[in-house]
Structures are given as C-alpha cells and as structure tokens.
C-alpha cells in the first residue's frame, strides 16, 4: 500500500493560473531576496511536496526542535533543518507578516510570507546536525558560509529554478499516480549518487525479490570534482535496466535535492522524502550519506531505532561482494567463506579504471554499463 505522505498531507504550494498572474504582477513591488541555487531548489522541493508536511522554511520553534529532538514541534520525525538564511542588510525594512520575493539569477522563484526572522548558532547547528564542528566537513563548511539570520515562513512557487534534467524529474504527486497506475503496493526506493556496479545491482535485486517495484532515485544537484555527471548516471542506469531488469519493475527518476553529508540524520531525511514519493521501503546503505570518517559504518542503521513512527520501512542490506567459492554476488549474511575468496567491488577502483578509459572486469561492472559510461567525453565533473 502506498503510504500516506509524511504528516498526513501532500503539500502543494505551486501557484497556477490567475493567482500566479496576480503574484507575478505584484512581484515587482515586493522586497526581493536573491537566493543561491541550493535555496531555490529547497523552495521547489517544499512547494512540490518533497518535504511534506513542511510548506515553507522553518521557524525558530521547529528549527530548534529539529536540532535537539530530531522532530518537529508537533512530534513528527524530522532530522535535517530546512532553513533560509539571509544577511541583515538584505532584510532592511522587512517585517514579520510581509511578503518577499525570492529570486534566483534575477528570475522570481517564490513568494515567502515572512513569519519570523531569527538568529542562529552555527556551531550548535553543526554539532547537532553533523556531529562535528570541523570546518573540513563539507556540510559544516557550507553551514559556516551561510548568512547570520534565518527567515521562516510559508512559500508559494512562481517559477521553478531551471532544471536541465526536467525530462527525468518526477515529483511526489507524479510517482504516486504512477505507482497506483502500475498497481504496485510495495515499492523500494534506492538513493544513489553513483553509476551502478554489481554491488548496487545485487542490493537492488535482493530488495526487488519481495517488492513489486523499485524507484531508482539518483540525487542530482551540487556535485564535487570527480563525481559522475548526472547524465552519465542516468545513461548508465538506462543501460542496466535495458539489459538486466525485466520490463516494468524499475522507475528511474531524478530527485533534485540538496545533499548535506549528515550521515545518520540524513539517512532518516532521505527515508522521509521517499515516503512522500510513495515508497514503502527505503534501502539504507552502510555509511549512508556519510563523508570521511565522521560517522561509524552502521550509525545510519542504528538511528532508525529511534523512529518507530517513521511510516516507511528501512532495509539494511549489507554490502555485496563477489565470492569465488559461491560463484556469484553475495554478502556476509549469506556467504560463509573467508576473505581470500572474496572480491570487494570497489567504487574507487572502478572509477580509476574508467578514468583511464579501461573496462572494469565484468564481475565488478556490467560491460554494457561500462561502455555507455566510456562513450561520454568526460563522465566526471571537472
């Protein structure tokens, strides 16, 4: 059964028709706050229900409750603050109750009804969300770079920020209609930022064995140097689906959402978001959304114990490896053989081989997938 949206209601804050015209004509008069692409993406995700039941940037009470309790003020699980920062000088003359226009690259993105302007403690934020105040952590670094005030309030979307992957983007209402149309009742969501190797395929198929379908949900958006480009990830999955999945069991769609590298907290966040897309199960990897060695390898699994009321079932699938004795992809739970028989499927090694233009061996990556990746002039972000 497709689960109810988080908090019971799927948010839709997209302005349409005459109301949108009205806001557009008013927009010129409104105080304007230019935001970066991350906040523009947040605004679209909020408006299109990705963060249901949130319908705007968090006010102070919800924000502090999320920091300290990992729950909204009303008790609902929520682990990553969705906040809008602004400089004092950018908010001159803006008062609580005012409408302001959020723009990106000069394009009006959304109207925000200011409910609250408040200050925040970035160190506390970093410690709670990322479990470290080390500025070398990418999430902490990004936090420290943000402005000194936070603005809370509901938003209404006027224009989505430009999306080069629109053709591959589905929103929660769309995946929900799609799952219903397909008659799927158990849907596993798989989060990724990588091209699929044999280990990923194994994990997905282990889950698919009992589910009706799988939502392959690559996260697009901000990337660091050396990451696979979004188009490459999509093409690689299309090749995998074409050659190694039966018709009609995969939905491949891109989710544009900001990545924070908040490890365990982000694993919960990713699960909540997938619940809003209509998934019943969510695959949680080892060191899910982690970075460096800030989090223990199984912390992202353990945190789920604190959320019996999440409303989506986490699947903790162990890392897969190739076992020469078993003669196939297995994991520690189903293979008794010792280390000498095991071949680890290393994403790093595969990346190095692809960088040199070599095909990784077929027990690491399907040749059809490798070939598609190598057809790109440069599969990696520069």
């Amino acid at each position: 059964m497709v689960p109810r949206p988080h908090g019971g209601r799927l948010v839709n804050r997209v302005l349409e028709g005459r109301r949108r015209e009205l806001f557009l004509s008013e927009a010129k008069e409104l105080p304007r706050l230019e935001v970066n692409i991350e906040r523009a993406i947040d605004a679209e995700d909020l408006a299109k229900g990705v963060f249901s039941p949130l319908d705007g940037f968090m006010g102070r009470e919800d924000y502090l409750s999320v920091l300290e309790e990992m729950r909204l003020q009303n008790g609902l699980p929520w682990t990553i603050p969705i906040i809008l920062d602004a400089g004092r000088d950018e908010l001159t003359g803006v008062r609580e109750g005012d409408d302001i226009l959020l723009s990106y690259g000069g394009i009006p993105i959304a109207v925000l009804t200011v409910e609250e302007i408040y200050s925040w403690d970035k160190k506390l934020h970093a410690q709670r969300v990322f479990k470290t105040t080390d500025p070398n952590h990418p999430g902490v670094e990004a936090t420290y770079a943000r402005k000194e005030l936070l603005v809370g309030g509901r938003i209404e979307l006027i224009n989505p920020p430009p999306n080069p992957l629109e053709r591959y983007t589905l929103w929660p209402i769309e995946t929900r209609v799609l799952f219903k149309e397909k008659g799927w009742r158990s849907i596993v969501a798989f989060q990724t930022r990588n091209v699929p190797h044999m280990g990923h395929e194994y994990v997905q198929k282990a889950a698919l064995t009992f589910a009706d379908g799988i939502l392959i949900h690559p996260l697009s958006g901000w990337k660091k140097r050396g990451d696979y480009r979004d188009e490459v990830i999509i093409a690689a999955y299309e090749a995998l689906a074409r050659h190694y999945y039966p018709e009609g069991v995969i939905v491949l769609s891109v989710l544009r959402m900001n990545m924070n590298y908040a490890g365990p907290r982000e694993a919960i966040h990713h699960a909540i978001v997938r619940k809003n897309f209509g998934a019943t199960h969510f695959i949680v990897g080892r060191d899910h959304a982690g970075v460096g060695d800030y989090y223990g390898p199984y912390e992202a699994w353990e945190i789920f114990k604190e959320f019996p009321d999440l409303g989506i079932t986490p699947l903790f699938v162990r890392e897969a490896y190739y076992c020469k004795k078993c003669g196939g992809m297995v994991n520690e739970k189903i293979c008794p053989h010792s280390g000498e028989h095991r071949v680890k499927i290393s994403g790093t090694r595969i990346r190095e081989m692809l960088k040199r233009g070599e095909l990784p061996p077929p027990h690491m990556m399907r040749p059809e997938v490798s070939k598609v990746i190598l057809e790109f002039d440069n599969p990696f972000v520069e």
Binding site: M1, R9, N12, P77, I173, V177, E181, E306
Partner: protein, 70 residues
C-alpha cells in the same frame, strides 16, 4: 475527552505491552497515539492526504505517458 475523539476498548494486556513499547522505543506520546498511527498505516487508502482532481490526475498521467513511464 476531546470532542472529535471516541473511545475504543482493547485488552488490558495489549495496552500494557503497548505502553512498554513506547517507554522503550519512544516515538509516541501515549498508547492512543500509537493505536491511531498503526490503524492509519493499516487502512489508509491510496489517495489519503493527496488532493487531486480527476482533471489534474489526467494531466499527471499525460506527462507520465509522454515521458514513457506508462
């Protein structure tokens, strides 16, 4: 009792088990909240919490068709 609530009887034994579960796992304020959550999960219909007119649903399906999803 609040005006929009009704009483439901469950066995004392199960009630105590549920109270213990909450004590150990958190997530719920009381047994009533746990019972409500589990019932919702069990009997919610597909469209619950999702407002979509038939015309809008058709628009969604049109996009899904044009992209080859259905």
């Amino acid at each position: 009792m609040a005006g929009n609530k009704v009483a439901v009887e469950i066995s004392k034994e199960l009630y105590e088990k549920a109270a213990k579960f909450i004590e150990e796992n958190g997530g719920f304020k009381d047994v009533a909240e746990l019972v409500e959550f589990l019932l919702q999960e069990a009997i919610a219909s597909e469209d619950e919490g999702v407002e979509l007119s038939p015309e809008d649903e058709e628009k969604v399906k049109e996009r899904l068709r044009s992209l080859g999803y259905i």
